[in-house]
Symmetry: C2
Subunit: 366 residues, 2 copies
């Protein structure tokens, strides 16, 4: 449980004349309560009531886990056949008569759920969005969070090593990804932060494609994009390596991506905007003539979830601050030819960007 | 692409005097368009315009994949730094002047996204929810969908076999889960339908707990809950087996769960309600005195996603129909002692419930 952040939210509620907040993004719930669980399609909420003790609300089958997680306040369960919103509303009314104005996470709560909540609590006003406040709370990482992410980065480095060793002619992308996940899980990494992406040759030109049965041939590139959940924090990193010699023009494109990634990583500093950082990398790629093939943002925040606020993207005026954690991941994707992405995640310090992953980015032929 | 279902939706729009529908649940998008992709935090939408051609809308980096997936209509991309809702609204206005009333998927669209859409299209009326219509479309499976799910069930059976063989004293839950996923992926199963759950002994008493580093001891139960994505359809099944002899009272509880599961599976028939089916299993468990330890619904629908409409739960009046696909998964979880769940997914035919998985449910000692 994160009592100081809960206190900060309580102050924020009072300052904004709000009676409570209903937190439903399970990553936010975990961050604030210490209870980690993806409820999938069921309802999980952390309810913060102004000037009162908060409570956790979720599936009956999770109440034991809530209590065992160290949550010191009330944990309330609902059965599958109950209307969770009606039960939640009852509890709010019992605890805090006359409460009316509640903040919600508008980027998480669905329209359907808001309607159900409004029906269950007809006098409630749910027009305030707490998303930005929660984003701000989670944006600047504590040193203990950064320690967790350094550990996660070490697991990601190990993953690359396993992946590099698993490459052999005829191996499928899925086989290499399976080997990485197997070795990590066997050594105690509880889960990946997303399905491991391994793509060979021209298949990597699809930057959001999936790991497939495509077999590895000699003299093509291999793109890895992977991450672990370590101590409940995510790692996220990408490397592209050559399996045998590749044509000079492919090597040249690799160097463009590498220069873009390194330029951004070396020049990132406190006080610059996210848009300026994006521009540093994008400019390198544009000047080399590949601008149209870098069709995504430079990076994204991460922490207890692998994709979180903010986006490092063109035109963003967000000021980069000390102990913000984000990825720097430029790429060039030429349909039918090749896809190259190089990515480190790290945190911003007074000494610049400190990456969590150390695997070499020098052009590597395996 | 599923032209007949798109036509059916188009008729539904006209019948309800709607100008269009904005489909944002990526499973619905995949079902209707044939384009499979989880956009994570980005926006992916299938826009159906009454009496016009539909279009796909999503991240620029996915447009190639959309076109390559066989989607015969327009595919429109947006850049990360663009406001997707403004771009989507512009395209709607270009294509269909004067359109005003749009259905949304209210159980998927967040409050934030609805607000963004409303701001981008101030004259739009988004008060109609298409969720129930889409649920109905997806509820009754075609014979080709059932074939895919039979194949997925075979992969799940293979997974149990791998898992049973991987059990040895001292093995961790994570190690066994890793072995299952590794062998499956190596043989070409693209992904699991959810993180493989392996739980030993009393750890299984937490029905939504996670696979951990806990080591296997002799004479305890092992609970497996797993599923694959095979041909883009999900399998989902659970087995509980004994690693060495277990006390008679544990064996007796196993038999209660087995009888509950078999009673429901044998008596499921077209025309009964979901609540009646839940009751058949629940009654067996209640009469044995374990009612309080079966704290979840009997089952859930599945198809191209592993959890979908409907819930098989107490008090549901939903009529079970031919070619509906759902799980039957009673369980008994006694904190500190043991957790037992037995689950088959299958489809309802004129001959009753036909399971997708064949792994024995007889009490098995390994």
């Amino acid at each position: 449980m994160n009592q100081s952040k809960l206190n900060e939210l309580n102050n924020w509620l009072q300052h904004n004349n709000l009676d409570g907040a209903i937190i439903t993004n399970y990553h936010s719930v975990a961050y604030l309560s210490g209870f980690e669980s993806d409820p999938i399609e069921r309802v999980l909420a952390l309810v913060i009531l102004s000037g009162k003790n908060p409570f956790l609300f979720g599936p009956a089958l999770e109440v034991n886990s809530m209590q065992e997680s160290g949550w010191p306040y009330t944990a309330i369960g609902y059965q599958d056949q109950e209307n969770p919103w009606r039960k939640l509303a009852q509890h709010i009314q019992n605890t805090s008569k006359g409460s009316q104005r509640f903040a919600i996470e508008a980027d998480n709560l669905t329209v359907h759920r808001l309607n159900a909540l409004q029906n269950a609590l007809p006098t409630g006003d749910f027009s305030t969005d707490i998303t930005e406040k929660i984003n701000q709370l989670r944006l600047i990482k504590t040193s203990s969070e950064i320690q967790h992410m350094l550990a996660a980065g070490q697991d990601a480095d190990r993953a690359f090593e396993i992946g590099f060793q698993a490459l052999h002619a005829g191996a499928s992308e899925l086989e290499v990804a399976a080997e990485i996940e197997y070795q990590l899980k066997k050594s105690g990494v509880p889960s990946m932060s997303f399905d491991t992406l391994v793509q060979f040759g021209d298949h990597a030109a699809d930057p959001h494609g999936t790991t497939s049965n495509r077999a590895l041939k000699a003299n093509e590139l291999v793109l890895f994009d992977l991450g672990t959940m370590t101590q409940n924090y995510a790692s996220d990193a990408s490397r592209t390596v050559a399996f045998g010699a590749v044509p000079k023009d492919i090597h040249d494109i690799y160097d463009v991506v590498l220069h873009a990634q390194q330029a951004a990583q070396q020049q990132a500093k406190i006080g610059m905007t996210a848009g300026e950082l994006d521009h540093i990398a994008r400019q390198v790629i544009e000047e080399a003539g590949y601008g149209q093939y870098f069709n995504h943002r430079l990076g994204h925040g991460l922490g207890s979830s692998v994709h979180e606020y903010p986006s490092i993207m063109p035109d963003s005026h967000l000021i980069l601050q000390e102990n913000m954690v984000f990825s720097i991941e430029p790429g060039i994707y030429i349909p039918g030819t090749a896809g190259i992405r190089i990515e480190d995640s790290g945190y911003l310090s007074a000494n610049g960007f400190i990456p969590f992953t150390q695997t070499t980015k020098n052009f590597t032929v395996l």
